[in-house]
Structures are given as C-alpha cells and as structure tokens.
Symmetry: C2
Subunit: 340 residues, 2 copies
DNA sequence: ATAATTCATACAATCGATTGTATTGCATGT
DNA sequence: ACATGCAATACAATCGATTGTATGAATTAT
C-alpha cells in the first residue's frame, strides 16, 4: 500500500524544476515551454501523481461542486430530476452533493447550513411543503453563490427558478375534462401555502370560468395529496351531489381515490373521470390508465444545472432568471369522452 | 454583499488570542478554559464565522464525503438505495457525492477516477452490467479508502459487499411456483457475466433439482432484461411446448412478456404464471399483480453506509465483510395456485 | 519556601496547490 | 557592442485550519 504521496513538490524536486512551473505545466499554461511540459507530464505519470483537489479548492476558493436538496430522492420526479442534474454536471466537470429534506423544514435548514459549510459553488433546491418562509436562505445572500429553485419557485430577490407553468397546464388539464363532457369537477388541491398548488387551483378555476361553469367552493378539497388522502377524499366526493370528474393536483391522490371508489363499485371514467398531475410510473399501469400531466423532470434537471453553472462561471452576480418548461398532457382512459 | 471572510485569524486578532486556541475552542477541545471558549464562541457568532471546510480537509487529509456510483439514479431500486445512503450519511455527518455510470463501463472508469481525485473517504458502488473485469479498481488498492460493492458483489481482495442472497431467494421464488402447481418453468436469465444473474439461474436450477424436475436448457432464455426483451421473449415461449410459468430475473422482462401475451389472449396466471424479481412499483398495479421478490433497497443503502463509515473511521485497514440481507417474497395474482 | 506538576495559551510548522512578481539568459535591433 | 525586449523559469506569499511543542503562570506537594 504505497501512500500515493506524489505532490507537485515531488515532481519539482526530482526534476529540479520549481513547483510553480510544475503547477503551470500540469494546468497547460503557456508560460511553460513545451519540452518542459513533456518532461513534467512524464514524471507526473511515472510518480502516479494525482492533483490534490483539497489544496486547489482552498487556494482557489472554489469546489467545483453543486449542492442539491430535494424532499425525497426516491420519489420518481426527484429521481429523474437528479438524474438530469448529474448528467449535465458530469459533462461540465462538476461534482454533485445530494441531500434530502424528507419534507422537514428543520432538516432543510440544517442541510442548507451544511451546503454553505461545504462551500458548494451553487445550489439547486426543491423546497419542502412546509417551507413557507425563507429566512433560512438569508445566509445565502452573503455568499456570492447562486441558488436556483426547481419545481417550487420562489422570489427571494437573488435566485432563479426552473419550473413548469402550473397554472396554464392545470387550465389545460381541466379544459380537457370539460371538452370530454365533464362539468361537475372536483379539485383535489395541495397545501395552499405552497405556490405551486395555489397555481394549480387557479388554473382549475380559470378553466371553469372560461367555460362559464360556476365555481363551487365545496368542490375544492385540500390535503397533502398522499395516496391515503385520496382514499379519504373518495368518501367525501361520494357525499357531494353530481360529481362527474376529479382533477387532482397530483397522481397519488387520484390513484388513492380511484382505488377506493373502484372497491365501492364506482365506474371510472363512466361514473367519475380522473385527471392527475405528475405522471407517476404507475399511472400508466393502473386500470384505467390515469390521464395526467407529464413534467419534464430530467430536462428540468439539465436546464437548471446548466443555468446554475452558467451563473457560477459568469459570476455576473445577480442574474435572476425564471425558466418555464412545457408540461405535456397525457391522455389515458380515466378521462374517456362521455358518449351520451 | 459582505464577503463572509471571518476566519479563525479574525477571531484571534480581535480577541488577542492565538488562532490555535481559537481552533481548539471551536472544536470543543478541553485544552481551552471554559471562559475563553465562551468568549471565542461569542465572537465567532458575532463575526458570522463559518469554518472553512476546504482548509480543514487539506490539513486533515479527509473530506468526510463518501462517493456513490450507480448505473442510473432514476431506476427505482437505486433511488431507494441512495435514499438510504443519504439518510445514514447525514446522521453520521458525512456528505454524499453521487454519480451515475449509465451502465457504461467507460463512464464508470471515469467516475472512479473522479472519485479518487475528489478524495472521497470511501466509495459505494453498484457496477454496470458491462463490468466483468476489475482492473480499473486497482488504483483504489493504493489508497487506504474502503470500497463496498452493493447489490452486485465482487471479490477483488480489499472490498466488502452488501447483497441479498440471490441464489437462495431465487430458489424460493421458483419453489413457490412449483408449490402452486407449475412444472414447466421458463427462466428469463440476465447476462451471465454478471454474478448476480448467474446466482439467480443457479437458484432456479436448484429448485428444479430439489423437486425432481428435469432441467431443460431450452427453457433458459438470456437477455439484458429490458421490457422490450420481455416482449420478444413472449414470442419465444409460445413456441416452446408446455410452458406453464416463467421465473424472470427481473420485473421489467416479466412485465414486457405479460403485456405481449395478454395482447395475444394468453391468460395469466391460468395459462402461464409469472414470477418476477425486484418489486418495481408498477408490479403491484399491473393486471394481474406480479408476484416478485422485494429487495430491501433502502435498508441495503443504510447498512452499506454504516459499514463503510465504520471502516473509514476504524481504519482497521482490511476489514473484508459480506453482509447478506433478506429479500422478501411478494405473492400476488400472477402466480395464483392452480386449482385443477 | 522551593521544587514539581498542572493548566492555559502561544508559537510555528504544515497540508499542496496557485499566482503575482522577480530574475535570468538569450535573441533582436541599431 | 550595447540597450531593449521577451521567453522561460524561480521565488515567495497565500488560502485557513490543525496540531506537536514550548512557554509562562498558577497550583500543589514536600
């Protein structure tokens, strides 16, 4: 077990060339003669030299690392997102540090501090549902490192966002239900402190209005949109009069409700149609297939990462930018047209 | 934008206390008087001091970071695995650097070099299907940093493994088919260069032998086990005589085949039963539900991480250890008992 | 009262690379 | 032949923390 000790100083010593020259040679500076470079590179190879990133980081005050904080890594959307992030970061020679907040604000705060401590060059974050104030991001203001909110946008003055157009997409999704003959549409809303869920509700409302359908407050049921919430809400909509469709702010809630309703003999979509949001992998496979909105998760990760690294390297300070990507309406059997 | 410059030297200067004492105080050393510690901590707080991890890393020659390389982050098993890794690492105050090989050996090599360059304190890796020689791990021998193979075990002399017992589990899965009355069982095998798929085939064979069923070479079909492979194999098994069940080395292949067969009017499980492997999320939702083997992915991540960090911190050098976790047989309708 | 011990802190080297400035030697122009 | 300029390399400071050793003061033992 040789201790892999070779440093530029070892090369320097064994060649009688100053370590500054060695450093420049290894970095391809044109201040070093080609012949000398060759010598140095050969010796480096020979000694199994490997640059000490920690020393470079300290001196350059950079880490070539970006931090990523998401609620849960194993949620499909975030796994896709991270896959996109990693791919782009790899291509641009950055490392990716990952952490999950587990949807806990307290943990998010800790992770944020961690990321600061670890001197990431930039941060990508998708905040928890609990995150409704942003004081804990203040520390970032004092750094010069950029921060981008993904999926759950914010404006805290010095950040960028990469999102989809939740309102417009929700309008389209609701419109699709209306186009297919559904009129009494319940909305499974998410926590209204979260911007994105507010927008989805707004899109739903806008669609109703656009089609001259009166908005009924009782038709909006708010929850955290877990599958279990969906199961509970199934009961509630059976007690409402005339409901013929549901637009859920995510797939999980829709799937939970569908499951419970099917058990009770309700036919989908004949009795009640369902439109989800997110395109979970299972949504394609349940019976009937769940119509939904597909978020371009991997693309969002890629876009966010190149935006972030662009900001890191331009250091143009306060580029604030909001990138809106298109979401795609996926039509399956849960919203089949009513053939009266 | 204050440049957040405070270092131990700033504290040292403004307090007239040597920086070494400041350092010790901030690290809670008992070589500093409590009263002095208080002073220092107060001043640190006041100056918004934040330890420079890069300097510490350089000096201590450690990063408190573990590297993770998996084929794809957005594959369910790996997302779960990583979630477990991150959680444990967080609790033990380690950071996690993530990279995906995209099942390319070439990329795996690059990532491995990257991880070395970044001086991770230890490495968790699940190798690609292409990885059948291990020369590129040699560089790790020269480091003193431990490496653990997860899910796809290896013995390269200086590593540990965290795996499930693929052979035994496969035996049980096959036995379950046999117990339910199936006798002519096809095996969808994975690439036989990969140990794990070799073991699954071995388990299948062992089950046959144990039950006095003759092994038929034609009943083993090898592929890379993508869903499309499953669809192709559906045709092949229809051309074989008497097939009444399939044991697939992963769920994807099983699902592909089931889909194609259903289209052709084959009844599952009445005509052909299916047993998968991995418990993909969709396996619960397809019709019929796919019986399968559930790998404890999150637990594997946790176990691997605490094992790894244990090795890092004990530095007991060459602890080689193989941890075998239990997989669980999940019985659904695709293997329903034959009621003659 | 003095030597021995302990306690609290200061001193100074170190980790390995980067980078602004200084120096040397050589070629070029006149 | 001599000043000028440039090419190539050397010198030395620096990034911010850690840590072994030295020092001085305070406490204890004898």
């Amino acid at each position: 077990m040789k201790n892999n000790k070779a440093t530029i100083h070892d090369i320097s010593r064994s060649l009688g060339i100053d370590s500054s020259t060695v450093s420049r040679a290894l970095n391809g500076s044109d201040r070093v003669k080609d012949k000398t470079k060759e010598l140095i590179n050969k010796k480096a190879e020979e000694l199994g030299y490997r640059k000490n990133i920690m020393a470079r980081n300290l001196r350059m005050n950079r880490t070539f690392t970006i931090g990523v904080i998401v609620p849960r890594i194993d949620r499909h959307f975030f796994a896709k997102l991270i896959a996109g992030i990693e791919e782009t970061a790899f291509n641009l020679n950055y490392e990716v540090i990952i952490a999950q907040s587990l949807d806990s604000l307290e943990r998010e705060k800790k992770l944020l501090a961690n990321m600061l401590n670890n001197r990431v060059d930039g941060l990508l974050i998708s905040t928890t549902m609990e995150t409704i104030s942003y004081d804990h991001f203040d520390a970032y203001k004092d750094e010069n490192s950029p921060i981008i909110f993904v999926d759950r946008p914010n404006k805290i003055g010095y950040n960028s966002n990469v999102i989809i157009n939740d309102q417009e997409t929700s309008l389209n999704a609701t419109q699709h239900l209306i186009d297919n003959g559904y009129k009494n549409i319940v909305h499974f809303a998410g926590p209204q402190e979260v911007d994105l869920y507010k927008l989805r509700l707004a899109g739903y409302k806008a669609a109703l209005e656009k089609n001259g359908i009166e908005f009924n407050e009782d038709y909006v049921i708010e929850s955290r949109l877990m599958q279990e919430d969906g199961e509970k809400m199934a009961k509630q909509i059976l007690e409402l009069p005339n409901v013929d469709a549901v637009f859920a702010a995510n797939d999980h809630a829709a799937i939970g409700a569908m499951k419970r309703l099917k058990e009770q003999g309700v036919k989908i979509p004949e009795d009640i149609a369902f439109m989800g949001f997110s395109d979970e992998p299972i949504s394609e496979y349940i019976e009937p297939g769940l119509s939904t909105v597909k978020q371009p998760a991997t693309l969002m990760g890629k876009e966010a990462t190149s935006l972030l690294i662009g900001q890191i390297e331009n250091k143009s300070g306060d580029i604030v930018h909001t990138k809106i990507l298109d979401a795609e309406l996926i039509v399956r059997n849960s919203t089949k047209k009513i053939t009266a």
